[in-house]
């Protein structure tokens, strides 16, 4: 979902690997072609190497993170660049002495080996001690004190927070919740399998695009709460300078204050199973009025949806909606063709659960029934309780869909109202 006004040029993610020497323009790099990489290899490498072992004036841009847009990100970028310079300095200084020794004190140039085994004179002791004092100064004063302040600020999530967003991670998608506005939706990767497997051309935001991005207002301190429903994930948007793990059962906090409207992209940063590479985060930062507009629109949509949920759905409606939900939510594991992945995710096609009763004779959920499995999941496995993240209509639709697809021919269906009653 691209908001009007946010042009592609504001998108920091487009700055694909831009070197200070621009022999490769922005737009070319965006659809980087393999042939180009090959052509550029020696030059790329040598420039990178050169920049690494020396520190020319341009060096700053090569240490850069993605463009920082929050106060925290700017601080950490500054700290990082400064630290990089310091360690480069140390490295060059120390290695210069090594190099001097290597060139001067060689047997072939007739050097006579010394016999000393430690610093001898007072002058040598001073020479030997100075680097350590310097190192301690760098560690604890030069970098240590600003680091302390940066951390205190980074961890201060609650003071003067303007709003709160709750992020619930699960394999392999994010659920975003605005508790004050009562809005909640799921955000999953939108890149097609065709692009991943090379059957289609890769789009410019390959792997970094989602169906429903998180919308945040600019210039507001947003407190972000994190939790997970299954395994540990980690929410990371490089431009925001924050990365925090989402742990099952425990709340974690962080905050962002985005200063510039735009689209910012990140990824899950904790190995979380087979779909770890495909768990992107997209945040659209918009000015406050636009944000309020979006909230109002979203609220209207959801009250409409509630009204719709109450009505009796036709089979076609359920199947269409179910198809949609299945593709977004379930196919990551059970696969688009419902065949699952042997050993990891069971096939739904021909599954005895899917082809068994949904409810018991009294009309209640029962263990290992189809509706129970989808609503309550199976604890201890990747199959989570979807009643927490899907609406009544979505559950009803996807269950109906599964029972009548992939070669399953149950012919029955379930209504959103029934699901509501089962919660």
């Amino acid at each position: 979902m691209e908001l009007a006004g946010a042009s592609i040029h504001d998108d920091p993610a487009i700055r694909v690997w831009r070197l200070p020497f621009s022999f490769c323009s922005r737009h070319e790099t965006a659809n980087f072609h393999i042939r180009q990489i090959k052509k550029q290899l020696p030059l790329w490498f040598w420039i990178a190497f050169f920049l690494f072992v020396s520190e020319p004036a341009h060096a700053k841009s090569i240490w850069d993170f993605q463009e920082p847009v929050t106060p925290v990100a700017r601080t950490s970028l500054a700290a990082s660049v400064e630290f990089m310079r310091i360690i480069m300095g140390i490295y060059i200084a120390v290695f210069a002495v090594f190099a001097y020794s290597i060139f001067k004190h060689r047997k072939s140039s007739g050097a006579q080996p010394g016999t000393f085994t430690g610093p001898g004179s007072r002058r040598q002791w001073i020479l030997a001690i100075t680097p350590f004092l310097l190192l301690i100064y760098i560690d604890y004063i030069w970098m240590g004190i600003p680091a302390f302040h940066a951390i205190s600020r980074m961890e201060d999530t609650r003071t003067a927070a303007d709003m709160t967003v709750k992020v619930t991670a699960s394999q392999w998608k994010w659920q975003y919740e605005y508790p004050d506005e009562g809005i909640s939706f799921v955000s999953a990767m939108a890149t097609s399998q065709g692009q991943i497997h090379g059957r289609e051309a890769k789009g410019e935001h390959y792997l970094l695009e989602v169906d429903n991005p998180l919308i945040l207002p600019t210039n507001k301190k947003v407190r972000i709460l994190l939790i997970s429903t299954d395994v540990i994930h980690s929410w990371w948007v490089p431009s925001f300078g924050v990365k925090r793990d989402a742990v099952p059962g425990y709340l974690r906090e962080m905050w962002v204050n985005i200063e510039k409207p735009g689209i910012y992209r990140g990824q899950c940063a904790q190995l979380c199973g087979d779909g770890h590479s495909f768990m992107p985060i997209v945040v659209e930062a918009v000015a406050e009025p636009q944000f309020n507009e979006w909230v109002a629109q979203k609220k209207a949509q959801s009250s409409q949806a509630e009204a719709v949920a109450g009505k009796a759905w036709s089979r076609e409606e359920l199947m269409a909606k179910g198809d949609e939900v299945y593709k977004v939510v379930c196919s990551a594991c059970h696969q688009a063709d419902g065949k699952g992945l042997p050993g990891a995710f069971p096939a739904l096609s021909g599954s005895s659960i899917v082809n068994g009763p949904m409810l018991d004779k009294e009309g209640h959920l029962f263990k290992d029934g189809h509706l129970d499995r989808v609503m309550n999941g199976k604890p201890g496995t990747a199959m989570q309780a979807f009643k927490n993240s899907l609406s009544d209509a979505e559950i009803a639709a996807v269950v109906t869909y599964e029972r009548n697809s992939f070669g399953n021919r149950m012919g029955d269906m379930v209504q959103p109202a029934q699901v509501k009653a089962l919660r």
């Binding site: 709750k166 508790p179 709460l225 939790i227 059962g249 425990y250 709340l251």
Partner: protein, 283 residues
């Protein structure tokens, strides 16, 4: 091997197949357990084979050591090696127990209070109070164990069991055969009694609803006492072997085996036992 008895000669044992045999056994055992817990194949056969091979290897090896000792291969130099080795082995046991005790401490000091103090609007368990003893927000209900029943008796038992070992050592040093054997036997009896009581305690606990389903409480209870009990079992076996050795051939010259038993018993059995009592049941 040369039979020189000079102190400057260190005994290097000849090639031996026991170590690699034991490894084969351990491998089979591990394989069997993995197959079994995953219901992949019946792992029973490899488990039994593994245990048999390990036992064969261990008995062979220990027998070999006893034999070597009998034939006078060991002198103070070798003796010192064994002692240092045993001391560091016990150090590693301290680290092993330490991990479990720290896991308990972590649950009590960090995890449960954090679970109880998370932002009430967002946490999954707003009503949870993290006071020990508790099994966590969704655990089964249970009645915590009282320290003054089985635990107290058991702790006293195990403390007492260390005393006869002092006696045994004295008897050994003064070449008093009867005393040494009696001391060891008494310890062994107390140790076995402890294990039996522990089994009874498990029954009692299950009656109070303390099972593995009672969250961290049940978990720490069974794992801590279980790991401890397993070490006690090992300690009892060591005592038994020592007793057997003494029974047959009693030589006051080499007491390294006896000392090992005493060290092991004191460091691995008594100290964690006390810590478990104080930190799990009592406080």
């Amino acid at each position: 091997m040369s039979e020189t008895r000079s102190d400057s000669h260190y005994y290097v044992p000849p090639p031996s197949h026991y170590p690699v045999t034991i490894n084969l056994g351990l491998f089979l055992l591990a394989l069997g357990v993995v197959l079994r817990i995953n219901a992949l194949a019946s792992g029973v056969l490899p488990i039994l084979a593994g245990i048999a091979v390990v036992l064969y290897g261990a008995f062979g090896w220990v027998g070999k050591i006893i034999c070597e000792e009998e034939s006078g291969h060991y002198h103070p130099w070798e003796d010192r090696s064994f002692r240092i080795g045993m001391a560091y082995f016990i150090l590693s046991e301290v680290a092993f127990f330490g991990a479990f005790l720290l896991a308990l401490m972590y649950a009590r000091v960090f995890a449960l209070p954090e679970l109880a103090s998370m932002d009430p609007h967002f946490t999954l368990w707003p009503d949870f109070k993290g006071e020990w003893p508790t099994g966590g927000p969704e655990s089964q209900k249970f009645v915590p164990l009282s320290p003054w029943g089985f635990p107290a008796i058991n702790s006293i038992l195990i403390l007492l069991s260390a005393l006869p070992l002092i006696w045994a050592r004295k008897g050994f040093l003064t070449a008093n055969h009867g005393r040494a054997v009696a001391g060891l036997a008494l310890s062994l009896v107390l140790g076995v009694a402890f294990l039996l009581l522990q089994a009874l305690e498990y029954r009692h606990a299950a009656g109070l609803g303390v099972t593995l389903a009672s969250g961290v409480y049940g978990t720490n209870f069974y794992i801590l006492t279980g790991v401890h009990g397993a070490h006690l079992l090992a300690g009892n076996i060591m005592l038994f072997v020592q007793l057997r050795t003494f029974h047959g051939h009693f030589r006051a010259k080499s007491r390294v085996g006896l000392d090992f038993v005493i060290w092991y018993w004191n460091f691995v059995v008594v100290i964690p036992g006390l810590l478990i009592f104080v930190y799990f049941y009592w406080l």
